[in-house]
Symmetry: C2
Subunit: 235 residues, 2 copies
Amino acid sequence: MAYKLWYWPGIQGRGEFVRLALEAGGIEYRDMAREQSDEALLADLNARAGRTPFAPPYLDTGETVIAQVANILLYLGERHHLAPGALADRLWLNQLQLTIADLVAEAHDVHHPVATGAYYHEQKAEAACAAEGFRAERMPKFLGHFEDAANANDGDWVAGTRWTYADTSLFQVVEGLRYAFPRRMAAIEGDYPALIALHDRVAQLPGVAAYLASDRRIPFNEDGIFRHYPELDGE
Amino acid sequence: MAYKLWYWPGIQGRGEFVRLALEAGGIEYRDMAREQSDEALLADLNARAGRTPFAPPYLDTGETVIAQVANILLYLGERHHLAPGALADRLWLNQLQLTIADLVAEAHDVHHPVATGAYYHEQKAEAACAAEGFRAERMPKFLGHFEDAANANDGDWVAGTRWTYADTSLFQVVEGLRYAFPRRMAAIEGDYPALIALHDRVAQLPGVAAYLASDRRIPFNEDGIFRHYPELDGE
């Protein structure tokens, strides 16, 4: 049975890390809310009882329902060999994915620093301040860490000789930052050659290349996590 | 060999979720920066190469170094039976811990909405706005989810008949919110009787009771994640 993935149908958002791993691995899934609607997602979420997701994305395997991106990827990694089996490797990939989750949350908070429930245009001054710190301090710190991760092994991938879900997630980090902060990325990405080379290798994986060329890949937009507001970018 | 835990020595912070699981499980560890200093922690962190932590806390097992709270707890859960062995249970506990991590990040961002690198007093107006949304929307949403989790099984604990690291973490969530938002918690915690009962059971675990009575438990303070600024509290 194909997995049922539930996530907001109009954005890449956090769900994209799951979509990329599924597509790269050639794993069959249905993107339920894209087949149906936002309302169907909310109805499904609200109808669940017991061990429920706190928020999308979540993956219905038919036997269990798994939420939280890093948790879904941990499951897919073990079940579909999108991660090595050795304990130290599994922990390292999960750790990397959780650090990526931290970056994603911070990238979101740049345009919504004060109130998630309010609009960007209601908090533009605060967002400008948050963006300055994000560009100057946080982007180099995260990207430097991921560059070290890309260099911390002998193979082409973060855990060695086979791509893993952490590799597809690092691809998405570079994509998202380039979209949201093109001027800043152009200025600094030369400092992270191993990460950029890894990004390029992921883009060439057959499953990823086919996905990116399809209409299943939703374009970045200003409803997602990585948003391009030119006034928040800068060298 | 005792584990070496590295975390900021002056605060509970994120490290407290690890300390509580270790103490509840009677697992031997050394709290390295408390034995030494902040500077020793930074020196240790900066001296590491290869698969490095992005930030504290991290646990040096002698064989590997594990960072990110949920990842450390995943390891301890499997290694020391602080979690059940069945896949669905392990995924559920990890999922809960990741949702707790989301709450912890949001609780931090209440007092530092605009700039993590700046002081609270430099962003008090924005913090007041962030706190209003956190108290009104986010606290009931998270607490309601954890109440459901406490009710989603037949036993006394979130995964059944034995306490797990997710139970000790939920204890800490209640403790932290009571410290930071005492008026708000007094007003609403009656809505979450299963969660509060679980909190009380954790407090009575012998390892936890001994820890809380010891000077190893650092008091909450305004350098940590959960901070009590009376102006950010309210019913």
